[in-house]
Amino acid sequence: MFRFKRKSTISIQHGPIVKWLLRHTTRMCELQRICYGELCGAPRTLAVEESLKLSRNANIKTLIVYLNDFADQRAITKQTKQKILKEAIVTILVTKKINPTAHPDFAKSFGKCIELIWGYRQLCVECEELRKTPYDADNPEHELLLLKLWNLLMPYEPLDARVTKQWQHIGFQGDDPKTDFRGMGILGLENLVYFAQEYPSAATHVLSHSTHPRYGYAFAIVGINLTSMALRLLRDGSAKTHIYNSSKSFPTIRAFHQLYCYLFYEFDGFWIDSKPSNMMEFSSIQEKFENSIRMALADSSTVFRINISVDNV
């Protein structure tokens, strides 16, 4: 896995006088200048987001509230997306008096920014809902998902019983994983299942490291702690860089799972490289790891990619 770098331009938010001057000399509004001047992905989307946030225009303020409502109710779906996007674009074209025939690329470029910005917001809401859903041993769907995790990670070792010490082989704390998901709820389990399902060789590789006699750690428990870390990055907006750069369109829960997989795979390498004396060093090493990820995300050109070749080894 490697971090992808691209050249980036520096974005500057201008004051009202400079804006007025620029508008009249370039005959373009700030949003147009951003869409034409900034690289697509995070540099452009972050600049559009900031510009919209700072706008004092009543139409734009109303538009933001309107889009926020859709995202907060998770109402941006395949069916509604095109209509919502169109409304947003038309509002901007009319408000900023942009001629769509003279500027055909603006609508497309700006529309993609809208998809990313409000897709991200909706993604935060969706993750929070999954996190708040506690693991429930009486829910057959939850139980099936848990058994699926076992079968994905340990295909050659059947479980002797639902409650068994075998769960510790994949890093749960005791003989029943149901109490281990805690505050991460079903999101913690879904992250683990996604990792094991989409990157089987990477997951097996990490799992085998976790049983290392010297540098071993609890795979599932570390995984649940990494769900918590991924969620912190998502919530405070640090993950925007990666999500805006990596999503072709509207980011869904898949984008969060992908970020998680990257973090898990990278953490494993980081842990081994740190040569910890035992698992009591987890909090300090996790903190260092989180700092290094935050540093990478502070660069708007960063996109985390899971190297597919790993999965063919």
Binding site: Q173, R182, G183, M279, F282
Partner: protein
């Protein structure tokens, strides 16, 4: 009662640094108790791999609370944290009746440790809000607390997720810190 107010109460103590040690089986509620003391969000707790520590400092006086993971694999490392402990806080999930014997076993082994000799013991009978929970008196009975003769001890029922009872337990702990 947050960590700072405990610190204020303890200011008459001659020691400059105090150390509280939170132990107990996994899923007992140690981290939730720690976070509620530090007035942090308790809804997003994760299982402790390793340990957590919270420190508060005021006017040259320092209070450290150590919360060590309770998973069976981590328990052998508990002993690394015994030194200079002022109060041992042992947390029990009152609704986990199946493991009451196991938690009793772990506690009696702790009480035999040389480095914890004479250290006051506070037991939290946590999760009193759960239907299956047994009372603090039953926990005390199950753990054989009444047979302890070599140290001060106290059992306190609590609901860490609601912050209920946590304060009362700590008040006892403050009063019983020994001068070294």
């Amino acid at each position: 009662m947050g960590l700072l107010s405990i610190l204020r109460k303890l200011r008459s103590n001659p020691d400059k640094e105090l150390r509280l040690l939170l132990l107990g089986l996994d899923n007992a509620g140690k981290t939730t108790i720690l976070k509620s003391l530090a007035s942090e969000d308790i809804t997003q707790v994760t299982p402790t791999q390793g340990f957590n520590i919270k420190s508060v400092q005021s006017e040259g006086f320092k209070l450290n609370v150590w919360d060590i993971g309770g998973a069976r694999k981590i328990r052998p490392y508990w002993r690394n944290y015994f030194e200079n402990t002022d109060v041992l806080i042992y947390v029990v999930d009152s609704a986990d009746i199946k493991r009451l014997e196991e938690t009793g076993q772990e506690l009696s082994e702790l009480l035999l440790e040389e480095k914890l000799r004479g250290v006051p013991l506070l037991v939290y009978a946590n999760k009193q809000d759960l239907g299956q929970a047994v009372t603090a008196a039953e926990i005390a009975e199950g753990l054989g607390l009444h047979n302890i003769k070599d140290r001060d001890w106290q059992i306190q029922s609590c609901i860490a997720t609601e912050g209920k009872g946590v304060k009362e337990g700590l008040e006892w702990a403050c009063k019983n810190i020994k001068r070294k």
